[in-house]
Amino acid sequence: MQTRFSAEQLRDPHLAASEKAIRTCVHCGFCNATCPTYALLGDELDGPRGRIMLMKDMLENQRTPSAETVKHIDRCLSCLSCKTTCPSGVDYMHLVDHSRAWIEQRYERPWIDRMLRGLLAGLLPYPRRFRFALAMGRLFSPLVGLLPNIGFLKSLRAMLELSRAPTGAVREGIIAAPTVRKARVAFLEGCAEPVLQPNIQQAATRLFARMGIEVVPAPGQGCCGALVHHLGKEARSLAFARANVDAWSRVIDDGGLDAIVITASGCGTSLKDYGFMLRNEPAYAARAAKVSTLARDVSEVLAAHELPAVTNPSGLIVAYHAACSLQHGQGVREAPRRLLTEAGFQLRDIAESHLCCGSAGVYNILQPDLAEALRERKQNALAAVAPQVVATGNIGCLTQLSRGKAPAPVVHTVELLDWATGGPEPEGLSRRT
C-alpha cells in the first residue's frame, strides 16, 4: 500500500519499521475474517485492516490521535490472529506496539482511565504487590455484586473478580534433580502465574526431572514486561527486558543454557521479541537476541525431547484451548495437541479455535464488555465438545475461562502431562463435575 512518510521520518527506526509493515499490507481484507473484534462489532475500524489505516494516518501525519482512533486501537486484543491470517506477511505486532507507545506519549486519557492503567501497571508485574492486592481484593470481593455494572465500575468489578481466580498451592517435597542431564534450562518465573498458580511451574519441573532436563535458577529476573508493553508504557517494558537479559546472560555465561522456558505463553511472545525491542541498544542488542533465540514455550521443549512413559493414562476428554500468544504470537500450534494425545488424553477440536478468549493481558479489565462476549463465545465452543477438562498454555486464559459458566475445569497443559507420566493429579481437576 502507498505510504507518505518523509525521508526525515524514516530515519527514526520505529517509524521505519512501521512504514515497512504498512507498506506490506495489500488491503486484501483476509485478516478481518479472523479478527475477534471485527467478528463482534462488524466495523472496519475494529478490524486489523482498518486499524492499519488508522495507525498509518496517525503516524504519517505525526498526529495526536482523536479519542475515536484511540478507542479502536485500545479495542485491539493484540491476539495476532491477523498475523497468522495475513498472506502478505504484515508485521502487525510491531506496528500496533509502536502505535500504543505513540498514543501513550501523546494522547491525554481521561483521568479515570489513566488511574486504572497506572494501577494495573504498578501492581501486576510485581508479585509481592500483586499478592497483597489479591488479598485486599478477596476482602472486598463480596462487594462485587453491589457495584453497578457500568463504565469504570465494570473494570473495577473485573479486577475484583480476578481475586476469585482459581489458585493453586506449592506442594510439599523436593523435586530431585535429574540423574542424566540432557539439557539445562531456566524458567521465566514471571509475575502473575507464580502468585496465582505456582503449581504450574512445579509440574513442569517434575516433568523435566523425569526427562533428564535440569532446571537452574536465574536470580534477578522479574516480569517479562508484556503487561506494561501492551499499555504503551515503552520505557518500563524496556527496563524489564534489560533486567531479564542481564539475569539470563549471567546464567548463560556461567555454564550455558539450552533454553529459557516459559510456562505462560503471553510472556513467551514477549521474550521472543526482546531481540527486536532492544535492537537499537548496542549494550543489549546481541545479548537480547541471544535470549530471544533461547526462549521456548514449555510445550516446545517437551516436544523436542521424548515424553516419559505414560504411567497413568486417564483417557479424559480434553478440549485444548490454544492461547493466542502461543498459536498466533509464536506459531506453536501442533506441539501441545500432539503431546496431549501422546499422553493418552482424548483430544477434541473446538470450533473457532483461532479466536481469542478475551483475556489478553489486562484486556478483560480495560474492555470488560468485549472480553466477556469473547469469553462466552469461547466457553460455548468448548461446551459443544463436552470436555471433562480444558487444557491451555497461558495463565491469563486459564483464569479467564474459569470464570462464569466454565464447561469444565481449566488446567495448564503441563499439569496434565505431568499427571499422565507419574505426577500428582492437577489440583484444578478436583473442580471437575
Binding site: Q2, R23, L45, L54, P87
Partner: protein, 497 residues
C-alpha cells in the same frame, strides 16, 4: 490518481452534518461514522490504487434500517455505495465524496439451514466460507469459492457474480443463488426468487447477479448447497514452460474431462504462495497446475490417471497427488492466498481480470511478456485455467511517481488484448471503476444504453453506486424511463420506446 469520478454535488457536501444527523437518528446512534480521521478505514476496497473518503458510513443491522436509510438518502439526493467486506478488486465499493457507504458487515447471521430443500438463507454480510462452515457438519458445502472466500461476503458475491476455483464444474454465483431480498433506492423491499430453482415471472434475479450495487441493496440471500463429494483429490503438476501447461489444460478440456477445479500459477505467483504456506509447490518450474477430481473413488482415480497421462505428454516434470484431505486443502490454500502473498514480493499490485479463449493462452502470455519488458513492470500470473479467466498481477511501487500510471496503461493493454483475441473484459471481478473506461472496447453505444436502461428502471435518479461500470453518466430521461415497482414493471404489456 488518474481516475475521473463524477463531480460531487456541492449541495450534498454542504449538508453533510445534517445527513450524518439523519443517519444517526435512523440507527439510534450506533454505527454512523462521520469524522475524517475514522473514515479513512473505508476509503478503498481491495483495489487500493483508487481512494476517496466517503461523506459518511452507515452500518445498519436490519432490513428496515436499510430501507429507511435509502429513503432518507433518496429524499436528499445523497448517493449510496453498498459495501460488503470490501474485497472487490475492481473498485466496486470505492466511496464517493458526496455518497454514503452503506456497510453490510453487521448483517452477519445465517438465518436458515434448510437441508430438505438443500438451501441456506443468509444475511448478505455472512462470508462465503461462513456458509460452508455452517453446513459442514451436515455434510454439505457451498460450491462457488472465490479465493477471497475467507473474507468476502455472500452479498458481495451476488453483486459481483463471483467465481472461484470450483466454478468450472459447479457454476458461478449466479448458478447457485436461488433468491434474494433487495431494497431499492426508494426504500421498497423486494423478494426475488425463493427456495426453488425457478420462480414465476421475469428472471429478475438473473440481473441482480453481477449488478455491482447499482440496482438495489441486497439484504438476504438464499443459496443452493451441495452434498460434499465422497472423494476429492488433487494433482499438483509442474511444467517447464507456461505454454506447456496451457497446452495441457487445452488437452484436458479437449479430452472431454471436466475437473472439479483447474488452476495455474506461474513461477512468481508460486514463489509467493510457497513463501507464505510452505505447501511444497515445486519452485524450479515455470508453471504449476492444480487439477482436482471429485466424485466416487473410482471416478477420481480414473480422471486423475487421464490427467496425469495428458500432463506427461505435455512434458510435465513434477507430479504429486494429494494423499490426504489435509494435503488437498493445502494445495488449494496456497493458490487461494496467491494474490495477497504477492505482497511479499512487491508493495503493490494491480490485479487484472480478463477472459480469453483457452486456445489463445500461449499467444496472450507471450504478448504479455513483451508488454512487461516494455513497461518495465513485473507481472505474476494466476489463472482459472479451466475457463480461460486470467489474473495477471502487475507488480508496481505506488511510492515511485509514475509507476501506477504505467501499471494502469499496462493493464488496459492486457484487457484490450483479451478482447482482441475474442475474449471479454472481465471474468469475475466485475467492472467497477477499474474496467469502466474500457467498456466501449467491448460494447457499442447501443449495448451500453440498453444496459443503462435496466439500471434506470430500478434507480431513475442514478443514486446507487454512480460512476461505476458505465463510462458515461446519462440521465435516465435521455434513455426513456421504465420504472420497476414492487418487483414488477408497471404495465409490462405496453411497449416502451
Amino acid at each position: 490518481m488518474s481516475l475521473r469520478m463524477p463531480a460531487p454535488d456541492p449541495a450534498v457536501l454542504s449538508a453533510r452534518a445534517e445527513v450524518i444527523k439523519g443517519l444517526r437518528r435512523i440507527l439510534e446512534n450506533d454505527g454512523v461514522i462521520g469524522d475524517d480521521e475514522s473514515l479513512i478505514a473505508y476509503e478503498s476496497d481491495g483495489l487500493t490504487a483508487y481512494r476517496q473518503l466517503p461523506l459518511a458510513v452507515a452500518l445498519p443491522r436490519t432490513t428496515q434500517q436499510v430501507a429507511q436509510i435509502l429513503r432518507f438518502c433518496r429524499e436528499r439526493g445523497v448517493k449510496v455505495v453498498a459495501r460488503g467486506a470490501g474485497t472487490s478488486l475492481s473498485g466496486g465499493a470505492l466511496p464517493l465524496a458526496d455518497g454514503v457507504i452503506l456497510g453490510l458487515s453487521r448483517f452477519n447471521r445465517v438465518l436458515d439451514i434448510d437441508l430438505e430443500n438443500r438451501v441456506v438463507v443468509a444475511q448478505p454480510g455472512v462470508t462465503n466460507l461462513g456458509i460452508t462452515e455452517a453446513v459442514k457438519k451436515h455434510g454439505f458445502y457451498y460450491a462457488p469459492d472465490p479465493s477471497s472466500q475467507i473474507a468476502c461476503s455472500i452479498g458481495g458475491n451476488v453483486a459481483e457474480n463471483s467465481g472461484g476455483v470450483h466454478c468450472l464444474k459447479y457454476g458461478l454465483t449466479t448458478n447457485n443463488v436461488l433468491g434474494v431480498e433487495l431494497v431499492t433506492m426508494d426504500g421498497e423491499i423486494l423478494r426475488l426468487g425463493g427456495k426453488t430453482l425457478d420462480a414465476p415471472g421475469y428472471d429478475l434475479l438473473g440481473i441482480i447477479n453481477g449488478s455491482e450495487g447499482m440496482l438495489g441493496v441486497i439484504t438476504e440471500v438464499t443459496v443452493r448447497i451441495l452434498p460434499r463429494p465422497q472423494h476429492a483429490r488433487a494433482a499438483l503438476l509442474g511444467f517447464p514452460s507456461v505454454e506447456a501447461a496451457g497446452q495441457c489444460v487445452a488437452d484436458i478440456i479437449g479430452g472431454g474431462i471436466v475437473p472439479a477445479g483447474m488452476e495455474m500459477m506461474d513461477r512468481l505467483a508460486t514463489l509467493a504462495a510457497e513463501e507464505f504456506l510452505h505447501v511444497g509447490y515445486p519452485l524450479d518450474v515455470e508453471a504449476v497446475l492444480i487439477v482436482e477430481a471429485d466424485g466416487i473413488d473410482a471416478e477420481c482415480d480414473h480422471v486423475l490417471a487421464l490427467v496425469n497421462d495428458i500432463a506427461t505428454k505435455n512434458g510435465a516434470v513434477f507430479s504429486r497427488l494429494s494423499n490426504s484431505e489435509d494435503e488437498r486443502l493445502r494445495f488449494w490454500a496456497g493458490r487461494k492466498s496467491a494474490f495477497p502473498a504477492v505482497g511479499r514480493l512487491s508493495p503493490d499490485y494491480y490485479c487484472m481480470d480478463g477472459t480469453i479463449p483457452r486456445g489463445r493462452l500461449a499467444h496472450v502470455l507471450q504478448r504479455m511478456n513483451e508488454m512487461s519488458e516494455r513497461y518495465g513492470l513485473r507481472v505474476a500470473n494466476v489463472f482459472h485455467a479451466g475457463d480461460g479467466n486470467l489474473h495477471p498481477l502487475i507488480l508496481y511501487n505506488a511510492n515511485e511517481p509514475g509507476q501506477l500510471e504505467r501499471a494502469e496503461a499496462f493493464g488496459a493493454e492486457i484487457l484490450r488484448l483479451c478482447v482482441e483475441v475474442g475474449g471479454v473484459l472481465t471474468g469475475e471481478h466485475g467492472v467497477g471503476v477499474e474496467k469502466r473506461d474500457l467498456m466501449p472496447e467491448m460494447f457499442s453505444e447501443i449495448d451500453l444504453a440498453q444496459q443503462m436502461r435496466v439500471k434506470c428502471a430500478f434507480d431513475p435518479e442514478g443514486l446507487l453506486n454512480p460512476g461505476k461500470v458505465f463510462p458515461q453518466l446519462h440521465r435516465c430521461a435521455e434513455l426513456g424511463r421504465v420504472h420497476v415497482h414492487a418487483g414488477r414493471v408497471a404495465h409490462p404489456e405496453l411497449p416502451r420506446f
